[in-house]
C-alpha cells in the first residue's frame, strides 16, 4: 500500500506533503523514540550519581552538585547559591547541615561561618557524567572475571564452530561420496532439535564429560551448528572445482586445499557466520544458566541476572554493568550492520 500511495502522491505533484507522508515520518520518528529512547535513557542514567538515581521525578540529563575546595576543610564542600536574605545571590559552600539550618562559608572568607535556613539556599548543579558507577564495578564487583568468562566463551566457541562447521561443509560440497544425502538429512534433523527441548539429557552428557561448571561445558555443546554447515556449504558450492583439481595436480594435500584455498575463498560466508556466532554466544543465557552454577564461572549475562535479584534497589552498578554488556554488541553493530542484517535474514535467525 505504502508504495502505491507514494506512487499516487507523486503523480499528484510533489510540492506538498500528503497525509501519508505525515503518517510515514510520524511513524518513523516515534520509532526512533521507542527503539533508541530506552537505550539512551539507560546509558544516561548509568552516569548519574546515587542521589540523582533516587530523584523522582527523574531529570533527563545526569546532574551533579558542584563541589569546591575550601581552605581549612579536608574534603571538597558542596556549593549552593543563597536565594534570600542579605547574602542573596552569593555562592557559598556548605560545611554542615543541622536540621533546618545550614552552616555555610563564603569561599573568599573560609573562617567565618554563616547560618542560613535550608530553604534559602539552592544547590548549584551542572551536567556532568558521574563515572563512579563504572569505577565501582571494577573495584567492588568481580566484573573483570565475568568479562573474561564471556569473552573466552565467545572467542573459543566461535573459532571452534568455524573450524568444525567449515570442515563439514567442505566435505559436503566438494566430495562425492556414498551417504552424503544421509548426512545432509541428519543436519536438517539437528535443525529440528533446539537446545531448549533436550536440556535434561544435555545436562547429563555435559556432566559425564566432566565439563559441568566449566567454561568448556558452555563452549562445546553448541560448538557445531546446522545453520553454520548450511551457510558455508551453500557458499562453497559456488567455488569452482577446477581450482581444486589444479591444486591436486600440483600435489597439494586435501587438507592444504581446504585451508589454503577453500577457506580463504569462503571468507565472506565465514565472516557472516562469525558475526552470528559472536552474537549468539555473547547473548546466550539459558544453557549457561544451567551449566554454570559457581559465581566465578558466570558470564556477563548470568552476572547481570544474578545481580538484579541481589541488589534490588542498587541500580547504580547494575545500570553501568548493563551498558558495558551491551557495548561490544553495539560496536560490532555500528561497524558491521550491513553484514549482520543480510546474515540474519539469510539464515532465518538461528
Amino acid at each position: 500500500m505504502a508504495r502505491v500511495i507514494s506512487f499516487l502522491t507523486r503523480t499528484r505533484g510533489r510540492d506538498r506533503l500528503h497525509w501519508t507522508d505525515w503518517f510515514t515520518y510520524g511513524y518513523l520518528f516515534s520509532g526512533i523514540l521507542l527503539m533508541f529512547g530506552p537505550v539512551l535513557w539507560l546509558a544516561l542514567s548509568s552516569f548519574k550519581t546515587d542521589a540523582e538515581l533516587e530523584r523522582f521525578p527523574p531529570r533527563f540529563l545526569p546532574y551533579a552538585q558542584e563541589m569546591i575546595e575550601v581552605e581549612g576543610y579536608d574534603k571538597p564542600l558542596p556549593v549552593f547559591t543563597v536565594t534570600a536574605g542579605e547574602l542573596a545571590g552569593a555562592r557559598v559552600a556548605q560545611v554542615r547541615r543541622i536540621g533546618l539550618v545550614a552552616q555555610v562559608v563564603r569561599p573568599e572568607n573560609p573562617s567565618e561561618i554563616i547560618k542560613i535556613g535550608i530553604k534559602d539556599r539552592q544547590a548549584v548543579e551542572s551536567v556532568s557524567l558521574a563515572t563512579k558507577n563504572y569505577t565501582e564495578l571494577f573495584e567492588r564487583f568481580n566484573f573483570m572475571r565475568f568479562l573474561w568468562n564471556s569473552t573466552f566463551i565467545t572467542v573459543m566457541a566461535t573459532l571452534i564452530m568455524l573450524l568444525v562447521n567449515s570442515m563439514a561443509a567442505f566435505a559436503l560440497s566438494k566430495y562425492e561420496f556414498r551417504g552424503r544425502g544421509t548426512v545432509m538429512a541428519l543436519v536438517i534433523g539437528v535443525l529440528m532439535i533446539p537446545q531448549t527441548v533436550v536440556l535434561v539429557p544435555l545436562f547429563l552428557v555435559t556432566r559425564e564429560l566432566g565439563m559441568l561448571d566449566s567454561l568448556w561445558g558452555v563452549i562445546i555443546p553448541g560448538a557445531a551448528t546446522p545453520t553454520g554447515v548450511f551457510l558455508l556449504r551453500q557458499y562453497m558450492l559456488t567455488i569452482p572445482d577446477e581450482i581444486l583439481d589444479a591444486a591436486r595436480m600440483d600435489k597439494a594435500s586435501e587438507w592444504k586445499i581446504y585451508w589454503r584455498i577453500v577457506l580463504p575463498l569462503s571468507a565472506p560466508a565465514l565472516a557472516v557466520l562469525a558475526i552470528l556466532a559472536i552474537m549468539w554466544r555473547w547473548n546466550d543465557f539459558l544453557w549457561p544458566l544451567i551449566a554454570l552454577s559457581r559465581p566465578e564461572k558466570f558470564t556477563l549475562q548470568l552476572a547481570l541476572n544474578a545481580f538484579q535479584g541481589e541488589m534490588d534497589t542498587n541500580w547504580s552498578s547494575l545500570l553501568a554493568m548493563t551498558v558495558l554488556t551491551l557495548l561490544p554488541i553495539a560496536l560490532v553493530f555500528a561497524f558491521l550492520q550491513k553484514y549482520i542484517a543480510t546474515g540474519i535474514a539469510s539464515t532465518g535467525g538461528k
Binding site: 533436550v198 535434561v200 552428557v205 594435500s253
Partner: protein, 322 residues
C-alpha cells in the same frame, strides 16, 4: 590470533595427510565430517534418545542406572487434569499454568509482531530519506541480549521510573507495573515484540521489494484505490512471506524464556511463567530435581516444535516457488 592459527593448521595436516594416503581422497570426506558429526551425535541425537529414557523413568537421580522405569507415569502426571482450561483443577497446576500462559503469550506476541513488522516494513518500503538509518533503528534491538532488554525496560517501569514520572506529570498515580499480573504479562509480550520485531521487519521488507513494480502500475492504470491495491495486490503477493514470518515467530515464541525470565522471573505468582521456565525450574532450579517430569514436558514441546518446523519448511518452499 592468526599467527596462532597457522601452526595449528599445519599440525593437523600431518594426521590428515596420513589419512589421505590410507583412505584415498573420496573417503577422506568422512574424516572432514567426523568432528562435526561427533558433536551432533553427542549433543543432539544422543540427548533426543536420552530424553525419552528420562521421561519414562522416575526419581530425582541424574544417573540413568539409578532411575527406575515408570512407564508413562510422568506423562500421566502432567496430563492429570479435570478441566484443561482451568489449571487449578490439574495435579501439576504449575505446568498447565505455564502451558496456558505460553499459548496466550504466543497468540498475542505473534499477532502484534506480524502486525507491527508489516506496518514498519510498508513504511520503510516507501521512498523515504535515510532508509538505511531507519531500518537499523528498528533492527538494532534484535542484537541486544535478552537480559539487557529486560533490564532496560525494568529500569523504565520501576517504581520511580520515567514512566511513572510521566504518569504523575499527567496527574495519574504511580503504578507498580510488574507487581500486577495482567500488566506484567502485557509488558512481557511488549518486551519480546520490541526486541524481535526488527528481524521480521527485515524479512517482510525483502518480500515487499520482490513484488514487481509493473503490477502496481497496472493498478494505477485501472484507477484502483490505494486500499484496494493493498488488499488485492500487496497482501496476496506478500502472503507467502507472511506465512514464513508467522511460522518463524511461532517457533521462537513457543520457546521464549530468557527475556521474560530476566524481566519478571515468571511472576508475580506464576503469571508470566512460560513452558521453558517450567522445564528449567522443574529440572534444575527446584528441589527435588524432577528430571522425568522436565523431560516429559520437553518431549511434548519437541512434538509441537517438530510440527511447527515442518510447517516452516513447507512455508519456505511455498515462498520460494510462488
Amino acid at each position: 590470533m592468526l599467527g596462532l592459527l597457522l601452526p595449528v593448521m599445519r599440525l593437523i595436516e600431518v594426521p590428515m595427510l596420513a589419512a589421505q594416503r590410507r583412505f584415498g581422497i573420496q573417503k577422506l570426506a568422512w574424516v572432514f565430517l567426523t568432528p562435526n558429526l561427533i558433536l551432533f551425535a553427542l549433543f543432539a541425537f544422543l540427548p533426543i534418545i536420552l530424553n525419552l529414557v528420562y521421561a519414562l523413568t522416575g526419581s530425582d537421580q541424574i544417573l540413568l542406572r539409578d532411575r527406575p522405569f515408570v512407564g508413562l507415569e510422568n506423562f500421566g502426571t502432567l496430563a492429570a487434569c479435570e478441566n484443561y482450561l482451568d489449571p487449578n483443577s490439574c495435579e501439576k497446576d504449575f505446568f498447565w499454568r505455564a502451558v496456558h500462559n505460553t499459548v496466550v503469550f504466543v497468540i498475542l506476541q505473534v499477532g502484534f509482531m506480524v502486525g507491527f513488522s508489516l506496518i514498519t516494513a510498508l513504511v520503510l518500503n516507501q521512498k523515504i530519506r535515510a532508509r538505511g538509518f531507519f531500518r537499523s533503528v528498528f533492527f538494532f534491538p534484535v542484537l541486544l541480549s535478552p537480559v539487557v532488554v529486560a533490564l532496560i525496560w525494568k529500569w523504565i517501569l520501576q517504581r520511580q521510573g520515567i514512566l511513572n514520572a510521566g504518569l504523575e506529570g499527567l496527574g495519574y498515580d504511580s503504578f507498580l507495573w510488574l507487581l500486577d499480573r495482567q500488566w506484567a504479562f502485557g509488558w512481557s509480550v511488549f518486551l519480546s515484540v520490541w526486541a524481535h520485531m526488527g528481524f521480521y521487519t527485515l524479512i517482510l521488507l525483502a518480500g515487499l521489494q520482490a513484488i514487481p513494480r509493473d503490477v502496481y502500475e497496472a493498478a494505477v492504470m485501472d484507477a484502483a484505490s490505494p486500499f484496494r491495491t493493498f488488499y488485492r495486490i500487496t497482501l496476496p503477493l506478500l502472503m507467502p512471506t507472511m506465512l514464513v514470518v508467522m511460522v518463524l515467530a511461532l517457533i521462537k515464541g513457543v520457546q521464549t524464556f530468557d527475556e521474560v525470565y530476566a524481566f519478571t522471573g515468571g511472576g508475580p505468582g506464576s503469571a508470566t511463567t512460560l513452558i521453558i521456565q517450567y522445564i528449567y525450574e522443574t529440572g534444575f532450579a527446584g528441589a527435588p530435581r524432577l528430571f522425568g517430569l522436565a523431560s516429559a514436558a520437553s518431549i511434548i514441546l519437541a512434538v509441537v516444535l517438530v510440527v511447527l518446523t515442518g510447517l516452516q519448511l513447507w512455508a519456505t518452499k511455498k515462498n520460494a516457488n510462488g
